[in-house]
Amino acid sequence: MRVSQRLAGFVARVPAKLQKKLLGAFLVLVLMLIALEALGLQMLRGVNERTEALINVEHKIAAYREVQHEIVSQLYNESSALLTSDPSSVESALGRLKEFGHELDRLPPIAADEVELLTRARQDYDRFAAAVTHVIGLIREGKLDEARAAQAAEARPLADRLEQLTNQLLARAEASLGSEIEASRRSYDTAQGAVIAFTLCAILMALMLGSTISRSLIEPITEIEKSLSALAGGDFNQNVTVLNRDELGALADNINRTSEQLGALYHQVEAASQHKSTFLANMSHELRTPLNAVIGYSEMLYETAEEEGHDEYLPDLKKIRAAGRHLLELINDVLDLSKIEAGRMDLYFEEVDLETLIAEVRAIIGPLAEVNGNTLEIACPPGLGTFHTDRTKLKQSLLNLLSNATKFTHGGRVSLEIEATAGKLAFMIGDTGIGMSEEQLSRLFQAFSQADASTTRRYGGTGLGLTITKHFCEMLGGTITVDSVPGQGSTFTMSLPDQRAVAELVEEAVAVPEPVEDANGALVMVVDDDPHARRLLSATVRRAGCRVIEASDGPSALALARERHPDAITLDILMPRMDGWAVLAAFKSDSELCDIPVLVVTVLADRGIALSLGAAEFLTKPVDRGRLAALIKQHVRGRGVVLVVDDEEEARLLARRHLERLGCDVAEARDGVEAVEWLSDNPRPALILLDLAMPGMDGFGFLEALGEREAWRDIPVVILTAMHLGAVERELLSVRAREVVEKGADELEPVLQRLLTAKSGEAVAAGCEVGR
C-alpha cells in the first residue's frame, strides 16, 4: 500500500501530460509482451534441438544394429559358401562386403569417446574384410579345408570382436538416448517454469502500472470532486493540494484560484448586501428626519393658520402635509419589502383582542371612507374573543386592504366581514368600486404594479401595499384571494390560521408520538429558518408517518443531511445567509446527497427555477398539509423496516443503532406476542432481528408462529442471542435458520448488510452472539 502510494506520488509528480503518461505505461506493457515472446521462441528452439539430438541417437542405434546384422549375415554367407562351394553365393558374399563398408561410413555424427571405439571397429572391420576376402579366395581356388581353417582362425574371432565393439557402441548409444530423453524433459520443465514465471511477473507489473497510473489520476480527481462539492455548498475556503504536475495539477490550481476568486466575490457581494441593508436603513432614517420636520411643521402651521383664521393657507398646507405623508409611506413600504425579501422581517405572535383591533381599524378607515363619500360597514360576529397572531401585521394588512377599497370606491360601500371557523378567521374586504379586469388581477400582487400606471397618478398609494399584504398573509400561514368584476367592485379574502391552534396541533403531534409509527417512518429533513414554519411542517411530516430532523439554515442542513442521510427534504427558499436555491444546488451537486428528493416549500412562485435546479416538487406556502403528506409518502424511498424483537431495551437500542447506520427504519417489539401483533398490523418487514430468551412468547415460539403464516414464512430472520446454542436448539433453529454464525456485536453489521441487500425470499438466518 505504502509502496504503491509512493509510486503513485512519483507518477503524479512527473511533469508530463496525462496522454504521455498513459502512452508510457502502454509502451512498458508492449515491451514486456515482446520480451515474453522472445523468451518463448528461445525455449521452443531449445526443445527443437533436443528433439533433433534424440533422432540422431535413434539413427545411430539403428546403424549399429545394421552393422551387427551384416556381420552375422556375412559369416553366414561365408559358411554357406564353404559348404556349397557355389561360386554365386561366393560372389554375393563379396558384394555384401562392399555394401557393409558403406553402412559404417553412413553413421551419423559421433561423440568424441565413441570415435576410438569406432576407429577400432573400422580397423577390425578392414581386417575382417581382408580375412573374408582371403577365405573367399581360398574357396575360389577350391582349397576348402584351408578356407575353413582360415575362417575359423581369422574371420570368426574378428567377427566376435566386431560384435563386441558394436555392442559397446550400442550400449553407449542407448545410454545416451536415456540421458537425451531426460535432458529433453528437463529443458521442457525449465522452459515451462520460465514462461510461467515471466508471465506472472508481467501480469504483476501490468497490475502495478495500472494501479499506479489510475491512483495517480483518481486521487486528485477525488480531491477535486470533494473540493468542488464543498465549493458548491458555499464553502469558499478550498485549497486542493494534489501532487500532480499534469492537467490535473493545473485543474486543481484553477479550482483553488476559482475558489479564492469566488470567496472574494462572495465576500464582496455579502459586504455589498450588508452595505445595501445599512444604506437602506440609514437612508430611510436620513430621509425620515427632514420629512418629520416637513410634516410636523406643516401640521403646526396648519393649526396656527386655523387658530388665527388664515383659512386661505389651509388647502396648500394640507397638500404639503399629504405629500409628506405619502413620501413617508413610500419609504416605509420600500423598507418593509426589502426586509421581507431579505428574510429579516420578524414575526411576533400574541393574543389579539379582535374587537379592540376592529375598533382601531374602524377609527382609521372611517374618516378615509368618508372622504370619497363611502359608507363603511363592518360585520363582526359578537363574541369573537381573541385570536393568536402577529397584531401589527394583521392590522397593517387590514388597513392596506381597506384603504385601497376606500381609495377605489366613490359614493359606494366598503365592507369588512369576519367569519370564524375552527382555528381560522376569514376577513372579507369588499367594495363597490371600479373593480379589475382579468389582466389587471394577474399582476395585482406584484411590487410596483398597480392595475395600471395611471392608477398611481389618480389614486395615489405606493403600489407596494398589496405585495406587502400578500407577504404578511403568507408569513402568518394564511392566504389571500381576490374576486373582482370590472365596474362592480372587488372582494379580497384573507384567511388566517389561529397560531395557537397551529401550535396546539404541533404540540399534539409532538406530544403524542405513535411509537411504532414513529420508529417505522422514513426520515424527513425539514429546512426552514422560521421556527413556526418548521414546527408546522414537522407536524405535517410526522402525521404522514415519518420521522423528522430539522435544520434552520443551509450549511447546517447540508451537514445534517450528510450525517443522517434523510429519505426526503423539505426546503424553504427565503433564508438568511445561504438561500434555498444555493442549498438546493449544493444538494444536487453532492454525489452523496443528489438522490434525496427535495420538496421546495416557499412563499415564492418560482416553480420553474425549482424544478430546473432539481427539486422533486414545488409547493407554495401556506402549505396544503394533505398534499405535502401525500408527496412525502410518494417520495420517501422505501428502504424497508427491520423488526427488532428483544425484551432488553439496551439490546434493542444497540440493534437500532446498527440498523439506522445502514439506513434502515426500525420497529421494536418486546416479545413474541408484540412482534406477531406488529406483523399483523404492518406491512412485511425486510428483516427480523430475534432474541431467543424472552418472557411470554420466546424466540422459538415466535419462529413457530412465523412459520404458520404463509405470508411471513420467507421473512429473513437473524437470531440475536447471548445464549450458547446446544445441538437440540440448533436443530430446532435450522428449520428456519439455515446458517448459524456466532459473532460479536461488531460483526453484526456485515451480516445485516448482506441480508438486507439479498433479495427477499432468500431467507437466511444467522445466530449472532451479541455482547451484552
Partner: protein, 126 residues
C-alpha cells in the same frame, strides 16, 4: 399642569413637538440624550416621558430600562417613539418597559389620546 419630559436629540423634532404640546396646555421639560433624560426624570419627576428610542450617549432602550428599574422613576409612564412601526419595533419597545409607543412623525391627535389614556390610568391629572 401636566409636566411631560421630552427626550429627543433632533433639534427640529424637539422644537416642533414641544411647541405643539405646549400649545395643547402641557408643561414641557426637554432632554437631548438618554443620560440627560435619566437625570432630568430623577430631578423633575415628570408626569409622563416621551422617549425617542434612538438617542446618543445612552439610547432610549437603555434609558427606559434604567428608569423602569429605579423605584423613584419606575411609576412614570413612558411612551416610546420610533421611526417606523414595522418589524417588531412595537414589541421591542414594550419589552424594554415602555407603557406605550408611537411612530414618528407623530400624528398629534393619536399621540394626545395615548398621553391622556396613560395619565388617566397612572397619574392624577392636574
Amino acid at each position: 399642569m401636566t409636566r411631560i419630559l421630552l427626550v429627543e436629540d433632533n433639534e427640529m423634532n424637539r422644537d416642533m413637538l414641544s411647541r405643539r404640546l405646549i400649545r395643547r396646555g402641557y408643561d414641557i421639560v426637554l432632554a437631548v440624550d438618554g443620560e440627560e433624560g435619566i437625570a432630568t426624570a430623577r430631578a423633575e419627576h415628570p408626569d409622563l416621558i416621551l422617549m425617542d428610542m434612538s438617542l446618543p450617549v445612552i439610547d432610549g432602550w437603555e434609558a427606559t430600562r434604567q428608569l423602569k428599574a429605579e423605584p423613584g422613576t419606575c411609576a412614570i409612564p413612558i411612551i416610546g417613539l420610533t421611526a417606523h412601526s414595522m418589524a417588531g419595533d412595537r414589541e421591542k419597545v414594550l419589552e424594554a418597559g415602555c407603557d406605550d409607543y408611537d411612530t414618528k412623525p407623530v400624528e398629534l391627535p393619536r399621540l394626545l389620546q395615548k398621553i391622556e389614556a396613560l395619565l388617566g390610568r397612572d397619574g392624577p391629572q392636574q
